[in-house]
Symmetry: C2
Subunit: 129 residues, 2 copies
């Protein structure tokens, strides 16, 4: 079970992320959750830290923003890639074993121990083209 007990703030943040069709920054989240009593960035960042640690949310490095995991039961350790439409801001989450393998190989050849990989394809989606 991935749905371990979330704390109040974590639950608020994850829910808000889940409702959004596009990535939200920490400050977007803060604005949406003010009426739920959240007042400071740190409350958001702390929740996001835990959620990303648990694999329930992901950080998009190239946007400084966050999304709820599209596959809440996904294996935490595999490489997750994102396609991001720069027009409509929608995000596609995917993974590709071939890609994972090639990157693992690169790492093995150099005795490099991967901790966290980010792979983000920014572009224009079919609908927006």
């Amino acid at each position: 079970m991935t749905e371990q007990n979330l704390t109040k703030n974590q639950d608020l943040v994850l829910n808000q992320l889940g409702k959004s069709k596009t990535p939200m920054s920490a400050y977007d989240l803060l604005d949406s959750l003010r009426d739920k009593g959240l007042k400071a960035p740190l409350q958001i960042y702390r929740a996001l830290d835990k959620l990303t640690e648990m694999g329930l949310a992901h950080r998009l490095e190239s946007l400084n923003a966050f999304v709820a995991c599209a596959h809440p039961n996904c294996h935490e350790n595999e490489l997750i890639a994102f396609g991001i439409c720069e027009k409509c801001n929608k995000v596609w989450e995917f993974s590709d074993d071939e890609v994972s393998n090639r990157l693992d190989l690169w790492a093995k050849e150099r005795d490099f121990t991967p901790v966290k990989t980010s792979l983000e394809i920014r572009g224009i989606c079919a609908k927006c083209a």
Copy 2:
């Protein structure tokens, strides 16, 4: 020839990046270049924009920092990947056709038009292990 004529600020920034063994943030660069007359963040950011556009420098999204291109004559359009040691901060720049192909395939299948892809493996290098 990739070494088109750089402007004064671009040249200063690229040189400074080239000297550094590790990525530098825009503000790191600003601090290093104050004695050369640079005073404002925007001067740095503008130079970096052009340099990355030309492929002479790269932005590391997961660090909000920049490096000089390791292969100044590299083809601009191919996918560039980075290994980043979280201990010593060294960066390895590489590319992998297999990975590129898989990502191209993903995009083609969805009529997604890639604009810029970032691929960053953060971890611990052999020396730091």
